[in-house]
């Protein structure tokens, strides 16, 4: 006997599919119950948004040993979208874009800054995610210019932190950036 008798990879896939289908059924059931019992309050939509958010996290976490910066980026975008959706479902009083999103952006940037300072040589590994976070962090600036946001201070602080963060990491890692450019573009 030189091989394991039962190979589990396909079983795992099957279990995974069962869970996915189950959550889909649960989601549908929730909508049905919501429609039948309390049609005026769309709580099932909130619950389903929660289920989707969990799956985003699960799908991402399944890929073990993932890049932490990538994880920060995905979580920041997912939580922001979730809070905006909750806000929208509750009458869109804009607390999500005034308070939640800027705070999420600040947390994401501060996490990235800590990651960069603690191990700045890993900057290159985080570079792409860092860049996307910076782009994402510019959204409040657009919202301010369009006069959609009332609480401007928090959004300006969030976007500024993001730019400062980018500058610091660039200064810390200039040499590595050069080395990587040579490596990436070798013919």
């Amino acid at each position: 006997m030189i091989y394991p008798k039962k190979l589990s990879s396909k079983k795992k896939d099957l279990i995974f599919k069962i869970f996915l289908i189950s959550s889909f059924i649960v989601g549908l059931l929730l909508v049905l119950i919501n429609k039948i019992t309390t049609p005026t309050t769309p709580w099932a939509a909130l619950a389903n948004a929660g289920i989707i958010y969990i799956w985003i996290t699960v799908f991402y976490s399944i890929k073990k040993n993932t890049n932490i910066a990538g994880h920060v980026l995905i979580q920041a975008i997912a939580i922001s979208l979730l809070t905006i959706y909750i806000d929208y479902e509750l009458g869109f009083e804009k607390w999500s874009i005034n308070i939640s999103v800027p705070i999420i952006i600040m947390i994401a940037n501060i996490t990235m800054l800590i990651l960069t300072i603690v191990s700045y040589k890993k900057y290159i590994k985080y570079a792409v995610y860092q860049l996307i976070i910076v782009i994402f962090s510019m959204i409040p600036v657009i919202l301010i210019s369009e006069n959609i946001i009332q609480n401007k201070v928090l959004s300006i602080v969030a976007s500024s932190i993001s730019i400062i963060n980018l500058i610091i990491t660039l200064i810390l890692s200039a040499k590595d950036v050069k080395a990587v450019i040579i490596r990436k573009f070798h013919i």
Partner: protein, 434 residues
């Protein structure tokens, strides 16, 4: 600290053969091969972890991960820890970098067996074997400190480098062999859910050599003939093939036998035997043996091998190909590979004798080699020899294992002792053979 930074910035190009593998590889076409050692004792995970780490210190060229450049992939130092796991999955599966700490080889174990699955970009069968043997030596030295004390002191590590021996040795003026016709593709239904059947036929080497003498062949030639005969009997005839496509067997060739090289990177080429079953009326084993002998003689000439190797090097070295951005290269190669694969019926790789020195032999039962099958080449064959055991392995995605069965029966008819080991994917048929 400085060393760490140097390592991090340390990178190297992929050799000429290796360039193609990451571009073409995917879940269905893994380009992974496996080497296994079946010990006479149960494997200890902690000792194995130490043994692999020691081997990585001795062969740092394996401590790498692959990164995408703008034009080509490249290797760079991998600072992460190696992952050792108990074997759970099918052999030679695609190595998912993220679940393997980005290493391009995977170490697993099961009871008495240690496996290394290697992505072909990293190295070929012969150099992979060198690294694997180092792991086995280290493992035994740690597990049997007192018994192998003297052996450890006297054992020397084989020196090697990472040069691209293709570039160094190819002939710029050599013209490639003209392209031939498409090959007969093995018929039959595939195993569901991505399963891979593995059947090892453990052959008595002495008896096999005696049989080879009768036909005046080498062991590789003889087994190639048995393989073609088995395909002819159990697939070609069984599915009543009426077309004119030949059974084509691709046989990798170790180029270190032809050129001085210490490289641990890929350095192999291949020959392709074309058995025109109908045109040359190859309907008996004796006729097939004669064909194999003459075709080997024709194709295994140094000039022929240089031609094939040089044509491939020239292709990879072509400036116009070089400057195509990697994503576009990927798309083009994957599309063209669907066609290229149709030019081989089966691959048979024999890495030959695995030499183990001194007292270490007392702890090893035998070695195995496996190659990943793929959607077009549904069966791949490999073999290796240790002491008096030659293990011929079929890795297959076909539900029908009549070829494996016919191969086994043929050797038995010749009074050659053959034992069967399998991974039990096709339990019923494996039992039938036993």
């Amino acid at each position: 600290m400085k060393n760490k930074k140097e390592n991090k910035l340390n990178w190297r190009r992929l050799d000429n053969s290796a360039k193609i593998f990451p571009i073409a590889a995917g879940r269905k076409y893994s380009t992974v091969f496996r080497l296994s050692a079946v010990l006479k004792e149960e494997v200890n995970e902690k000792i194995l972890y130490q043994a692999v780490n020691r081997a990585l210190e001795q062969y740092p060229s394996f401590k790498v991960r692959m990164k995408a450049g703008f034009f080509w992939y490249y290797f760079e130092y991998n600072p992460k820890k190696i992952i050792i796991e108990e074997e759970k999955d099918y052999p030679c599966k695609y190595i998912e970098p993220k679940t393997n700490n980005n290493y391009l080889f995977k170490i697993t174990y099961f009871k008495n067996k240690i496996n290394i699955d290697i992505f072909h970009s990293l190295t070929d069968g012969n150099s992979g074997n060198m690294f694997f043997k180092e792991i086995i030596y280290n493992y035994l030295e740690i597990a049997h400190k007192n018994e192998l004390k003297e052996e450890r002191k006297s054992r020397k590590i084989i020196e090697c480098d990472t040069e691209d021996s293709y570039i160094k040795n190819y002939d710029k003026k050599a013209k490639g062999n003209s392209s031939s016709k498409k090959a007969y593709v093995l018929k039959g239904k595939k195993i569901r859910f991505g399963g891979i059947s593995t059947i090892h036929e453990i052959i008595d080497l002495e008896a096999l050599k005696e049989e080879c003498k009768k036909y005046g062949t080498t062991v590789t030639q003889y087994l190639t003939a048995v393989l073609i005969y088995s395909i002819y009997e159990a697939n070609y005839k069984k599915y009543n093939y009426k077309g004119s496509k030949p059974i084509k067997v691709c046989i990798p060739v170790n180029l270190k036998k032809y050129f001085p090289s210490k490289t641990i990177s890929n350095f192999f080429s291949y020959i392709t035997l074309e058995a025109e079953m109908q045109k040359e009326n190859l309907n008996t084993f004796d006729k097939i043996v004669e064909f194999v002998k003459s075709d080997f003689k024709k194709r295994l000439q140094e000039q022929e091998i240089i031609k094939t190797m040089s044509a491939n090097v020239k292709l990879g070295n072509n400036f116009l190909i070089k400057i195509v951005p990697l994503p576009l290269k990927k798309l083009l190669v994957r599309l063209s590979y669907i066609e290229i694969r149709k030019y081989t019926t089966i691959t048979y790789s024999n890495i030959g004798r695995i030499g183990i020195i001194g007292k270490y032999k007392n702890y090893i039962d035998y070695f195995l080699m496996l190659i990943a099958p793929e959607p077009v080449e549904k069966i791949k064959c490999s073999s290796c020899t240790y002491e008096n055991k030659m293990v011929f392995t079929f890795t297959s995605i076909l539900k029908d294992n009549s070829i494996e069965k016919r191969f086994y029966e043929f050797l038995k008819e010749k009074n050659i002792n053959v034992e069967i080991e399998s991974n039990g994917v096709l339990d019923d048929i494996s039992e039938e053979i036993k």
